[in-house]
């Protein structure tokens, strides 16, 4: 009996210690095993994991690049996804493109699929500055480098590149045009983007950094239309009824700008309206005089830059650039709208 207790106690102690040690080593063990055939680049297996942010990630082992973006129903994200896909294929990768629809849970699932597919790299326009950090870390632990595009996250040393559209600068630049078009005075309304998207807040605060400095500019309503065209149409219609003397509209993106312009047309009005993105639809409205301007986010440039850097990183172990890189937006008005097509500005 005594002997049995002793054995039991020993067993228990041993199993506890074993559990401790196993918990630590299993991840690096898996990572080692995952380096198998089919790999075109990445010959040498990663020596030791967890050596901090300087460690060079070799990719999961396959030749697949994941392109993860918000919903491609927005032409801006479609341009981004299409450009990244085309460039990656051109460079010899297999591409899996998917949308997280701005849902962090869905995004995590997509990252898990990328890890399961032993992806070489992930290109991602993310679904939340804080929510994304864990997903990128997880990919990193599996040896997969992530290249973030368009939106940034609130952590450094996790992704390899963050190629960020300078929303703040772009929104500010077009807000200056808005104030000019309004003659520095009058009542206006603002339509905000989806609250969970960092850029909705960034763009709005940039608008207001400019506009709020003008004491005769008065905001009479501010509502979200969740980046959506029809929602923007309905909200604009309602706001016009409540405030028939509105003299201008600021929109967080171009799809909402489209909805607003349609609502204004239906009401027989033409007012200063600004958006952000630089879509061809917005360009057409600027040309026809229905909209004042937009800020072009250079989605194609950003997506292509990310893929080129991913390729370089996988082959040479470095992108040769800082992690955080800002890509400027370009203020588009009737003066230069002719140079804009398919999210590309040609000087």
């Amino acid at each position: 009996m005594k002997g049995f207790k002793k054995v039991l106690a020993m067993l228990l102690a041993v199993s506890m210690v074993a559990a401790m040690v196993m918990g630590c080593s299993s991840s690096s063990g898996d990572a080692e095993e995952e380096k198998t055939e089919e790999s075109t680049e990445a010959e040498a297996p990663a020596e030791e994991e967890e050596s901090g942010s300087d460690e060079v990630l070799k990719g999961g082992g396959s030749n697949i690049i994941y392109v993860i973006t918000p919903s491609v129903s927005n032409p801006a994200f479609k341009a981004e996804a299409d450009t990244a896909t085309a460039k990656a294929k051109e460079l010899g990768y297999e591409v899996k493109a998917a949308s997280h629809d701005d849902d962090p849970t869905k995004q995590t699932e997509l990252f898990d699929s990328a890890i399961a597919d032993k992806a070489a790299a992930i290109i991602c326009d993310n679904a939340g500055a804080d929510a994304t950090v864990e997903a990128v870390k997880k990919a990193r632990d599996a040896g997969i480098p992530t290249f973030l595009i368009d939106r940034e996250i609130n952590a450094e040393g996790v992704a390899i590149s963050q190629i960020v559209a300078n929303n703040y600068q772009g929104a500010k630049a077009i807000a200056e045009k808005f104030v000019e078009a309004m003659g520095e005075k009058g009542k206006y309304v603002e339509l905000l983007g989806k609250e969970s998207d960092t850029n909705a807040g960034v763009r709005s605060s940039a608008f207001h950094e400019v506009v709020d400095q003008y004491p005769d500019m008065e905001m009479v309503a501010q509502q979200t239309a969740n980046w959506e065209k029809t929602e923007a149409y309905d909200k604009m219609e309602a706001m016009l009824q409540a405030n028939p003397d509105i003299e201008g509209v600021m929109c967080g993106n171009d799809t909402m700008l489209e909805g607003v312009c349609a609502a204004l047309q239906a009401a027989g009005k033409k007012l200063p309206v600004i958006g952000v993105d630089g879509s061809d639809e917005a360009a057409a409205l600027i040309k026809s005089g229905d909209a004042t301007g937009t800020a072009l986010q250079q989605f194609a440039v950003i997506a292509e830059t990310a893929v080129v850097q991913a390729d370089k990183y996988l082959k040479e172990g470095s992108t040769g650039a800082d992690e955080k890189q800002l890509i400027d937006c370009i203020a588009i008005t009737s003066e230069n709208v002719d140079k804009l097509s398919g999210f590309v500005f040609t000087e």
Binding site: K6, A9, M10, L12, A13, M16, V17, A19, M20, G23, C24, A129, E152, N154, E156, V164, N166, N167, Y168, Q169, K172, E176, E184, T198, V202, S205, A206, E209, V210, Q213, Y214, P215, D322, E323, K324, Q325, L326, I327, D328, I330, E335, N336, E347
Partner: protein
């Protein structure tokens, strides 16, 4: 005796497995001192700019400023022509192009009608067509000064809002310490000397300068 040893071993193993969960060694961090470990020190753009203004920003700009009369003469109508020699792009070799310039001239017009007020200056010894304007606020456009400084960059800040806040703070210093003391509304017809930065705007040859030094003669 043996029993005790076993009990001890068991306790040790149990406590060890609890302590070391997550594999890291547990460390107690006092409230408010997280920044020491995470590097996320609370950001304050105002303090940041106060710290760099006198010691770094002004000396650098005074030193690198190119004479605007010579600059415009050499540029010959194309403000991007001298980018390689004196300019700084916001994205390495593309993006917004800014220059640090200095000069002396006569104030032809003081515009305070717009909130984004400015003075139009006729540069000494220059007859070209570009309009040279110095911003006098209260609204300051752009971020020319921030974008010219060599020692700060976007990557040093948490996100683009903090990066933007740096420029706001700089423009605030300009309004309070550079522009207000010279009483711009009284400068019509006077001679002024300046050091400042401007960003080339597409589709316009206006030189809109945000001053860091502004003196009436």
């Amino acid at each position: 005796m043996k029993k005790r040893a076993i009990a001890l071993g068991l306790t040790l193993a149990l406590s060890a497995s609890t302590l070391f969960t997550g594999c890291g060694i547990v460390k107690v961090v006092k409230i408010g001192e997280e920044g020491k470990y995470t590097g996320n020190v609370e950001f304050n753009a105002g303090d940041d700019v106060a710290a760099i203004w006198e010691d770094s920003a002004l000396p650098e700009m005074n030193e690198t400023a190119v004479d605007l009369t010579e600059f415009l003469t050499q540029s010959n109508g194309d403000l991007t022509a001298l980018a390689k020699d004196y300019g700084k792009y916001s994205m390495g070799d593309s993006g917004e192009l800014s220059y640090v310039v200095k000069g002396t001239g006569t104030v032809e017009e003081v515009n305070t009608e717009s909130q984004a007020g400015f003075m139009t200056v006729k540069l000494d010894g220059y007859t070209g067509s570009e309009a040279v304007k110095i911003q006098i606020g209260p609204v300051y456009k752009g971020s020319s000064i921030r974008d010219c400084l060599s020692f700060i960059k976007f990557g040093d800040y948490k996100n683009q809002e903090e990066w933007a806040a740096v420029s706001q703070s700089i423009n605030k210093v300009v309004a309070e310490d550079v522009v207000a003391p010279v009483k711009p509304e009284s400068l019509q017809g006077k001679t002024v000397s300046f050091v400042g930065a401007f960003t080339v705007s597409s589709g316009s040859t206006d030189v809109l300068i945000t001053p860091v030094v502004l003196e009436a003669k």
